[in-house]
Amino acid sequence: MTETEQAQALLNYLSSNVLRRPGIKLTADSSLVASGLIDSFALVDVLTKLEEVSEMRIPAGKVRPKDMDTVNLMLAMAKRVGKPRQQK
């Protein structure tokens, strides 16, 4: 997947599964945590999805909620701290 496709996959997932308030138009730079659109419990779901679309394993303890605030920040974090997943 290209980075744009990864961002789109995350945006689709957020809109249909996570957002607290329906009908909100999201972009890759929309603030999610700071604006209260998603809560900390949902962060873990989003992280799982991020690992799936980026094909990276993101180590626990290295995740800063501020890096999860927008889709672009999430993808940047996956690149920075993620480790390629082992193929089964």
């Binding site: 209260g36 900390s40 419990f41 962060l43 873990v44 303890g61 290295k62 800063r64 909620p65």
Partner: protein
């Protein structure tokens, strides 16, 4: 006499620091002022704060050279042990021996829970390889900064460092905003929180109801005590937060907010993003998220929620009632998740206004009931009071005076009316103001600053009335000074 001299010197140093352009002398002046301020509670406390600051600074340097989990654990353990020694010995629960009696006599350094959590966040951030490069003076200032050292807000070094490095401006705007926040805080503390604690007639408020209970309470009494204490605690701690945020703002510093209208939250998870926000975000960033992401199973996430909220309760003190309060709040969050999941799976949808109102009411009542654990003298009192809420017959025989029910109802209705009607209306009016209309008003002298100054008048009036009402009654100490 020494205290008066200390405070005068403190004021001179803080004001002097605003005029010094060079960074290091300015920071040294702020640090000296902060240490002078803290030393008024005792030099021994100051020695502990300085030792902790230096230890954490040098441990941070050690961690930077090799940010491993083992090294992080060492630093966390040292801080937790220091805090546990003072908090655990201060409020020991389970052990009841002569040795514990001796340890209980040891006083707890003021604000230890707040500045230790600031030190821990620094170590966690270093482990996560954040780019933080404080000098020893800057780190000591971060730990001891005078507005926050006693009861928070719990700051993050990343937010404070740029403010310590730049010259802060004492502008008329900062002075106005700061003064308004201080006045609001004083009204919340000396006016509303104090009257809830003491009662309309002295001895009929929340404090006496919990501390001098002589007869069993009925169900209605317990609900009103829970709501009354929640309001008292909110006005006390949010009032304090306004005062320190305002005091820092006078000198150009901007601190993190601690409260955001918590009682209008319509879910328990929303409540915890609005109450004591600097602590809840700390727990989220450094406990819940790292723990919850260790495994992807949903049950693990629930366990992480329960653990985080229990830790949140324990932070307030090693006391069974605080721990149970944390467990209760964690259970509420888990139940909320399960209900949400159930409703999503079964497509249970109510009309939006009914859904919103019901959700708010259930959240408010459930969170309020938890305050019984938080405030009770001991577990026995908490259990007896909670038992009354389950006894329908007891609702027919309230024992609290009518003035108490009136007071809590009045404060509650005024709070909700302010948050849902007055504040949104004022915000809409402000938004509707066009630049041309603002200019026209300014021609008559009605500038934004003028409006801010005028808005201080009712605050000063209410504060004056509060002081008159309190009369010779001593003001109850800030609740969070105990933690």
């Amino acid at each position: 006499m020494i205290t008066v001299i200390s405070y005068c010197l403190f004021a001179l140093l803080v004001m002097g620091a605003t005029m010094v352009k060079r960074r290091v002398p300015r920071q040294l002046m702020l640090l000296a002022a902060s240490y002078l301020f803290y030393s008024t509670w005792g030099l021994a406390f100051l020695a502990i704060l300085v030792s902790s600051s230096l230890f954490n600074f040098f441990y941070g340097e050690f961690l930077k050279r090799g940010p491993s989990l083992g090294r992080l654990a060492g630093g966390v353990a040292a801080n937790v042990l220091l805090m546990a020694f003072f908090k655990g010995t201060h409020l020991a629960i389970f052990v009841n021996s002569h040795a514990m009696d001796v340890l209980r006599g040891i006083a707890m350094p003021l604000g230890i829970s707040f500045w230790t959590f600031q030190a821990l966040s620094y170590l966690f951030d270093i482990y996560r390889q954040e780019e933080l490069d404080p000098t020893p003076v800057e780190f000591c200032l971060y730990m001891a900064f005078w507005p926050t050292v006693v009861m928070g807000p719990i700051c993050r070094l990343g937010n404070m460092l740029p403010q310590f490095r730049e010259v802060r401006v004492v502008s008329s705007e900062n002075v106005l905003i700061g003064s308004k926040r201080i006045l609001m805080g004083l009204v919340m503390k000396l006016g509303i929180s104090q009257i809830l604690a003491v009662g309309l007639v002295a001895g009929t408020g929340v404090s006496a109801a919990f501390d001098q209970q002589s007869v069993p309470y009925g169900g209605l009494d317990v609900w009103f005590l829970a709501i009354g204490y929640g309001l008292q605690l909110f006005f006390d701690f949010a009032g304090y937060s306004h005062i320190v945020i305002g005091a820092a703002r006078l000198f150009g510093f901007e601190l993190a907010e601690n409260f955001n209208s918590p009682f209008i939250a319509s879910t328990p998870s929303e409540f915890w993003t609005r109450w004591h926000m600097t602590l809840t975000s700390w727990i989220r960033d450094y406990v819940f998220v790292p723990m919850a992401t260790l495994r992807r199973d949903v049950w693990w996430r629930y366990a992480a929620l329960l653990f985080s909220m229990t830790l949140f309760g324990l932070w307030h003190g090693a006391k069974a009632t605080f721990i149970l309060w944390g467990v209760y709040e964690g259970a509420l969050l888990v139940i909320h998740r399960l209900v949400q999941q159930f409703r999503r799976n079964r497509s249970v949808n109510l009309p939006v206004p009914l859904d919103g109102a019901l959700s708010w009411l259930v959240t408010f009542l459930a969170v309020s009931l938890g305050w019984i654990f938080f405030r009770s003298r001991d577990l026995g009192q908490a259990m007896n009071m909670l038992g009354s809420t389950l006894s329908p017959g007891s609702y027919l025989h309230p024992v609290l005076p009518a003035s108490y029910f009136f007071l809590v109802s009045a404060v509650f209705i005024a709070y909700i009316a302010h948050k849902t009607i007055l504040a949104p209306t004022l915000a809409r009016l402000k938004e509707a103001m066009t630049p041309a209309a603002s200019q026209r008003l300014a021609e008559f002298g009605l500038t934004g600053q003028f409006v801010t100054v005028v808005s201080l008048i009712p605050l000063i009036f209410v504060l004056f009335l509060s002081i008159l009402h309190n009369g010779s009654e001593s003001v109850t100490p800030f609740v969070y000074a105990l933690f």
